[in-house]
């Protein structure tokens, strides 16, 4: 290039619109004729808890002494109707993930880790395995549209029941467990042929709408003699109305799963473009509970992209009673661990980016049914890691709560928060930092 050419041709400028990912996707679609299916949650940047900050105590607020003054973390779920509500030592639960999408070792590790710190795990779309019941001191049994593995004995042996209407990664969508993961045991539990792609329905087979849901919940209560807390889980899309309708239908607890929630296998277009961010779902859900006089009577469990104690504290400050984690729990077990980098490379990816959980070739032995891969995960060690992670999250939550002067993490409140940008301020309904301006609240 001569010095004159430099002024004729501008330097190469990649398009912000047609960025490398968009171009790669167009090429991939053109080559294959099929959309991308993958696991995990959205990968693009979304308004999230990082956009909020705690104010901390100052002259007008009185902090608590770290390591000395009590800051409780317990939460009781099911106080509305259940004869036997469940009490968790920490406000962080393990979200529903199926045996089938996860290995038996993975499920066992989740149970061990959660039980060690006094919290619950949740079954998933595939029924309850004896291992997870054995290793989960508190187990929530999901009632899903597919009803794979559903039976009254497991229903009664559970500590709580969760009617799954939707999930944050795909509100309005069902699921597909690809044939590679349908081992003999998975097939038997689901009463389907081995090796075929198994569709999980997007709608329940025997009820439609909130009035039916109320009757369905009552049936589950009748079968279990009104002992178990009944949760209703929804994918965040219309959180105010869904929460209100779940309360109307008789839920003891509402699980609000934001779009950052992970999935075992769903279309990328669904993960990235359907539902609303977790940050934007909490206040409308809390508002619905408050409008009905049910806040703290019907517990709100928030999930979707929660990674650390700060995220937990922010959820609780916005009005949640507890949170649920899925992807973060898998990472704690060893998912995407750099020790398997060579194998991730062989799969065309890298540690930290591996998301083809549906293919069953997980080097970490978690999202697989291959016996040799699954055997790599030691449930005792992995369970210990999860327990450590949950403990750290709890300590972080307490640290923030004490700094805000709270003797219980539930005493955190929106007043403790500010937002870093207008979007987060509007969604969380807290002021933009350094101002008293809450967008949409009419106090310009």
């Amino acid at each position: 290039m001569t010095s004159q050419d430099r002024w004729i041709h501008t330097p190469p400028r990649p398009s912000a619109n047609f960025d490398a990912h968009a171009i790669a996707e167009i090429r991939r679609a053109a080559a294959t004729g099929i959309y991308d299916i993958r696991g995990a949650g959205p990968k693009r940047k979304l308004p999230h808890f990082d956009d909020l900050l705690f104010l901390g105590a100052s002259i007008s607020r009185y902090p608590l002494e770290g390591y000395r003054e009590k800051c409780a973390t317990d939460v009781t779920i099911g106080t509305r109707f259940a004869k036997k509500p469940i009490t968790l030592k920490i406000p962080i639960t393990i979200a529903g993930m199926s045996f089938g999408s996860l290995s038996a070792q993975g499920k066992e590790a989740l149970g061990r880790g959660a039980s060690a710190v006094g919290t619950s795990t949740t079954t998933g779309d595939g029924g309850m395995t004896p291992e997870e019941r054995r290793y989960s001191a508190i187990l929530v049994y999901q009632v899903l549209p597919s009803r794979y593995g559903m039976n009254p004995d497991d229903l009664r042996s559970a500590d709580a029941i969760e009617v799954v209407v939707g999930q944050g990664a795909k509100p309005g969508g069902g699921g597909m467990l690809l044939g590679q993961k349908i081992s003999e045991r998975v097939a038997e539990m689901r009463v389907l042929p081995k090796g075929i792609d198994q569709r999980s329905a997007c709608r329940h087979p025997d009820w439609t709408g909130p009035d039916d849901l109320e009757i369905k919940i009552n049936e589950l209560r009748e079968i279990t003699d009104w002992e178990k807390p009944v949760y209703v889980k929804v994918g965040a899309s219309r959180p105010y109305y869904d929460t209100a309708l779940a309360v109307k239908a008789g839920a003891d607890a509402v699980v609000m799963d934001g779009m950052q929630g992970g999935t075992a296998a769903t279309q990328d277009v669904f993960i990235e473009h359907v539902g609303i961010p977790t940050l934007g779902a909490i206040r409308p859900a809390v508002q619905a509970l408050q409008d009905l006089g049910m806040h703290r009577q019907v517990q709100l469990i928030v999930s979707g992209g929660i990674r650390c104690g700060a995220d937990v504290a922010k959820c609780l400050a916005l009005g949640a009673d507890a949170v649920s984690i899925g992807t973060a729990a898998l990472i704690a077990l060893g998912d995407n661990d750099p020790q398997w980098e060579a194998e991730y490379r062989a799969l065309g990816t890298t540690a930290g980016a591996y998301d083809d959980w549906h293919e069953g070739r997980d080097p970490a032995g978690i999202t697989t049914q291959e016996p040799q891969l699954a055997a790599r995960l030691d449930p005792v060690i992995a369970g210990r890691k999860l327990a450590n992670f949950l403990s750290v999250m709890t300590l972080e939550t307490q640290t923030i709560a004490r700094a805000c002067g709270k003797t219980h993490v539930h005493n955190l409140e929106p007043e403790d928060l500010v937002a870093l940008n207008v979007e987060a301020a509007a969604m969380a309904r807290v002021p933009l930092a350094g101002t008293d301006w809450i967008p949409g609240q009419g106090n310009l």
Partner: protein, 228 residues
């Protein structure tokens, strides 16, 4: 022989009493009066008893039944015998939508008609409907048998897996991946057994047509896009 008047006894007490029964109970015959369309009558029973219900019931009667023989002398609302594991449920009248939904075992007999989605996601239950069934019956049916002596509505057996469907009357249309299959001798034997269990006599087996999965949609493939 306990007789329970549901006009006076709360449903919750009835179901709790049924759940307290031991396998060797002497209270093996229960008669329920005045159900008046209540939902969840006799759900979650797990003992080999007989329960006769004198009247119409609402949603989910005999839901998740195990072992019990439940007879409804009337019509049944949505989801009768849903997710039944074993035993028998016999509706003398008509049944609403999703009869026998997701049932894993046992026998459901409906003397009248069954509405839409009869046998949806069935997982091993046998269902005999002496009348007709509504649209999308046996949707995603995984295992078990659905026998219909009357007609079947639109999209019978849509996305069916391995369940067997036998229809004596007309089928308005078949759903995705559901096809007619030959009615061989061993199918006739299976059908005869089901009809005998349901107390159906004087029916020619040759009048039935058998339907099942073409198994074309068992693995997602772009060439099948038009079927999804």
């Amino acid at each position: 022989m306990p007789t329970v008047d549901l006009a006076t006894m709360p449903l919750r007490e009835l179901n709790a009493a049924l759940h307290r029964l031991k396998p060797d109970t002497n209270e093996t015959y229960w008669r329920l009066l005045n159900p008046r369309g209540q939902h969840s009558v006799g759900v979650g029973i797990d003992v080999p008893i007989a329960v006769e219900i004198e009247g119409h019931v609402g949603y989910y009667c005999a839901g998740m039944n195990k072992q019990a023989n439940v007879i409804v002398h009337g019509n049944a609302g949505q989801g009768v015998a849903e997710n039944m594991i074993s035993g028998q449920v016999h509706v003398k009248g008509d049944a609403s939508q999703a009869a026998g939904a997701t049932g894993c075992g046992g026998l459901l007999v409906i003397d009248g008609n069954a509405s839409a989605r009869c046998g949806i996601s069935m997982k091993g239950i046998d269902i005999v409907v002496k009348g007709s069934v509504g649209h999308l019956s046996a949707f995603m049916a995984q295992a078990g048998n659905l026998v219909v002596l009357g007609d079947a509505g639109e999209a019978l057996g849509d996305s069916i897996y391995e369940a067997h469907l036998f229809v004596r009357g007309k089928v308005k249309s078949l759903g995705a991946d559901c096809i007619e299959k030959p009615l061989k001798e061993h199918h006739k034997a299976e059908l005869r057994k089901l009809l005998d269990s349901a107390g159906v006599n004087g029916v020619e087996l040759g009048e039935f047509r058998r339907y099942g999965s073409a198994r074309r949609l068992y693995h997602f493939h772009i060439d099948n896009l038009g079927s999804y």
